[in-house]
């Protein structure tokens, strides 16, 4: 395919079309009926149709194009011994400084191909889903224009051939996530969540930008040819230390975007946005950008093993940390959010132990079942009339069967039950962790897998099993535009693992070999086949245990129809103080508040009250006062008589002439 640039360009066009129409229409509306937006008043059908067609159409077309581009390439590279050379297409020169130029150029190699495949696929499905889900919203057009804009940014990010261009996409997705989290701008918590996400990302981006500069300083270029240089270890300047610093900075950026370490705080709040947004941005695509970045720069990271180890540890830590929080959440979307964080932790763990392929593999599979789960939860919320508290659900299995089945499949997938997608990817990660000899990390991952299985099945049980609570009995199934994507995603979460079946199970670790040309693959120790099989069985066992445990605690129990059910408290009763701490999310937000925010606020207050108000303003006022005094003095000379002015003027002029004359 010749025009890669068309792939991001199409959603951009969609954004412009939708945005313009939405603006014009809403302003016309505002004129017609005084007052801008009318909550609950759905748009006229024609306009909805337009937005739907443009929104879905542009992204769908982009998806078709990208598959037209990547399928031949993928096949070609599968059969080529060394993999095909990346396709790089320059669109135009963006910046030129001296002899160094930054081009707007797009790159298609196996890594971006992999990303492209699921980004466009999931993106399209979620657009379709949104058509049904957002039907009643009066911000329909706005929503779709933002969503298209996001797709544009994400595709730019994926296809970019240079860090600066990637950064454009990076910021673009950040902006869209902000806009879409704050989609319900009349709700304070949504606005606050949007700001939180934006600021947390700023912290990361600060590292990101410095990292880009660092890369430029190291290699004298910022486009991805530096990866080759890094592979050949062609470095400028103080290499080891520099590389280490650059890696840490880039990783900081990745943490911001992918909610790792302390920067995870924004992701759970981001659930304030519409559910499809959570599915698309905060589960499937955007949050994986960090992993993508690490994989992109893997060649660089390999040069700084300590940095890699740090990545691994932070990943593992985040994984188990988030998982524990997930155990106690009652908001269905919050559970999924924390699960996302912890899964992302898995991916970083994989990258950290040097198995970048495994990490990307998990990104790939995770996008499907997590998107499916989110969309499913969306369908549940839809059915429950915007009720998100699982304590008020229950017994929905029979009422919304399709949602139930698809979510069950996805749950099993994420829990890592054989032979669903999650099993293979997660096992590849654990396997490589073990193989690389980080046994502690392995154990952490294993335990987290158990927790994952537990909280996921807890979610399913509380939602679908037992007796209906709250309004659960008048729940009804969602329209086809929502269920069809669910089924498709469910199907993918079953089969997606097929691309990564390890050799030991008679598969050909396709994805690993596929990614070889574009990501580094440092040597990881080999394991005896027996041990490998054993570990697989072990993780499978852990997963099953988790499921069973959740079933025991939550599955059978039925509760009164009144809202808060015993099961809600079950977790505390059974785990005591630790559980309570976990339920309070380890008081992380409070900690950040106490350690970071409040000191800053104090400093700010001081600078405002003390420095600005007294000192700066003091100077200004003093000077003003002086001028006033001077004015009082001078005003006696302004008689208001033109002739006096003329006379004075002439006197001055005469003096001037006299001076010239004399000199």
């Amino acid at each position: 395919m010749k025009q890669l640039w068309l792939i991001p360009a199409l959603p951009l066009a969609g954004f412009l079309l939708n945005g313009l129409v939405a603006l014009v229409a809403s302003s016309m509306r505002a004129e017609k009926e005084s007052g801008a937006d009318h909550p609950g008043v759905p748009l006229p059908y024609a306009q909805r149709l337009f937005h739907g067609v443009v929104g879905v159409g542009s992204v769908g077309l982009a998806a078709v194009l990208s598959f037209a581009a990547l399928v031949p390439y993928a096949l070609g590279s599968m059969h080529a011994p060394e993999g095909l050379a990346p396709i790089v297409q320059k669109v135009y020169t963006w910046m030129a400084a001296g002899d160094y130029t930054v081009d707007v150029a797009f790159r298609l190699d196996t890594l971006s191909a992999l990303m492209l495949s699921f980004v466009t696929l999931v993106g399209t499905l979620i657009h379709v889903y949104s058509v049904g889900y957002m039907q009643k919203e009066e911000g329909y057009g706005r929503y779709f224009s933002y969503l298209n804009l996001f797709m544009f940014a994400m595709l730019t990010l994926v296809l970019a051939d240079s860090l600066p261009l990637l950064f454009v996409g990076w910021e673009g997705v950040g902006l869209c996530s902000y806009l879409l989290i704050g989609y319900y701008y009349d709700k304070d918590f949504a606005v606050a969540a949007g700001k939180k996400a934006f600021i947390a990302n700023r912290v990361g981006d600060f590292g990101m930008v410095l990292g880009i500069f660092g890369v430029f300083a190291l290699f004298g270029t910022a486009d991805f040819s530096f990866v080759e240089l890094a592979k050949r270890q062609v470095l400028a300047g103080n290499a080891p230390l520099g590389v280490y610093a650059v890696c840490l900075l880039l990783f900081l950026g990745a943490c911001g975007k992918s909610a790792q370490g302390p920067l995870y705080v924004w992701l759970p709040d981001a659930m304030a946005g519409p559910t499809p947004v959570s599915a698309l941005i905060h589960a499937a695509t955007m949050v994986t950008a960090g992993v993508y970045l690490i994989a992109r720069c893997s060649a660089l990271f390999v040069l700084a093993p300590d940095a890699l180890t740090l990545v691994a540890w932070i990943g593992a830590g985040t994984a188990i940390f988030a998982a524990t929080i997930g155990l106690a959440q009652n908001d269905i979307k919050k559970v999924l959010a924390y699960s996302t964080v912890s899964q992302l932790g898995y991916m970083f763990l994989a990258c950290g132990v040097g198995a970048f392929g495994a990490g990307m593999f998990h990104v790939f599979t995770h996008s499907f079942f997590k998107a499916c789960l989110f969309l499913g939860s969306g369908s549940v919320i839809h059915a429950m009339h915007h009720e998100q508290d699982m304590r008020k659900m229950g017994g929905l299995a029979g009422r919304i069967p399709q949602t139930f089945r698809t979510m069950l499949v996805a749950t099993l997938a994420i829990a890592g039950i054989f032979p669903l997608a999650g099993f293979f990817s997660k096992d590849m990660i654990l396997g490589s962790a073990a193989a690389s000899g980080h046994w502690v990390l392995y154990l952490v991952g294993l335990f987290t897998a158990g927790l994952t299985a537990f909280y996921m099945f807890r979610l399913v049980s509380m939602t679908f099993f037992g007796a209906p609570r709250g309004h659960a009995e008048h729940a009804h199934e969602s329209p086809a535009t929502m269920t069809v994507p669910l089924w498709i995603l469910a199907a993918f979460s079953v089969v997606a693992g097929a691309v990564g079946i390890p050799a030991i199970l008679g598969g050909t670790d396709a994805v690993g070999r596929f990614l070889e040309p574009s990501v580094a693959h440092p040597p990881i120790g080999e394991m005896a086949h027996g041990l490998e099989i054993g570990l697989m069985l072990l993780s499978l066992g852990v997963a099953v245990t988790g499921l069973a445990w959740a079933w025991r605690w939550y599955g059978r129990a039925a509760g009164p129809v009144e809202a808060v059910s015993p099961q809600a408290h079950a977790f505390y009763e059974k785990t005591g103080a630790l559980g309570r701490l976990v339920a309070n999310r380890w008081n992380v937000d409070e900690g950040i508040e106490a350690l970071v925010l409040s000191p800053f606020r104090k400093i700010g207050t001081f600078l405002w009250r003390g420095f600005d108000a007294l000192f700066i303003d003091g100077i200004a006022n003093a000077s003003a006062f002086l001028v006033e005094l001077l004015g009082d003095l001078l005003r006696f000379f302004t008689t208001g008589h033109v002739r006096n002015y003329a006379l004075a003027f002439t006197l001055g002029f005469a003096a001037l002439v006299a001076y010239v004359w004399m000199s």
């Binding site: 006696f636 008689t639 208001g640 033109v642 002739r643 006379l647």
Partner: protein, 111 residues
């Protein structure tokens, strides 16, 4: 003194004479501008000063055998036209509000 320029007849009158006349005119105009109280008369005096300067320009143009001076005079005249139009309009407006154009009676700029 430039002497006989090619294409320009020699000046029979010493250019200094022109200069003196011009400066005297300027002085007279200035005196008028400073002494008269009727705004229109002041305006007239200013016109006179302008013309005095024009005469200077013409003289120098003649002395240097250079058209630039005449060009400038042309522009001065045009600008004077614009100035007169606006100035007189202002006086009319002024008269409408104050029933006089005596600049001593109109001292709005006083503090």
């Amino acid at each position: 003194m430039t002497g006989a320029l090619p294409g320009v007849a020699p000046m029979a009158v010493p250019p200094g004479a022109f200069l003196v006349v011009a400066t005297l005119l300027f002085a007279i105009g200035l005196a008028g501008a400073l002494l008269k109280r009727n705004a229109l008369s002041i305006f007239l005096s200013i016109e006179l000063m302008l013309n005095a300067v024009n005469l200077l320009f013409l003289t120098y143009a003649r002395m240097r055998g250079d058209l630039a001076g005449q060009m400038i005079v042309f522009f001065v005249i045009a600008v004077a036209a614009a100035e007169a139009a606006v100035g007189l309009a202002i006086f009319v407006a002024l008269f409408r509000t104050h029933r006089t154009v005596d600049v001593d009676k109109i001292a709005l700029l006083k503090w």
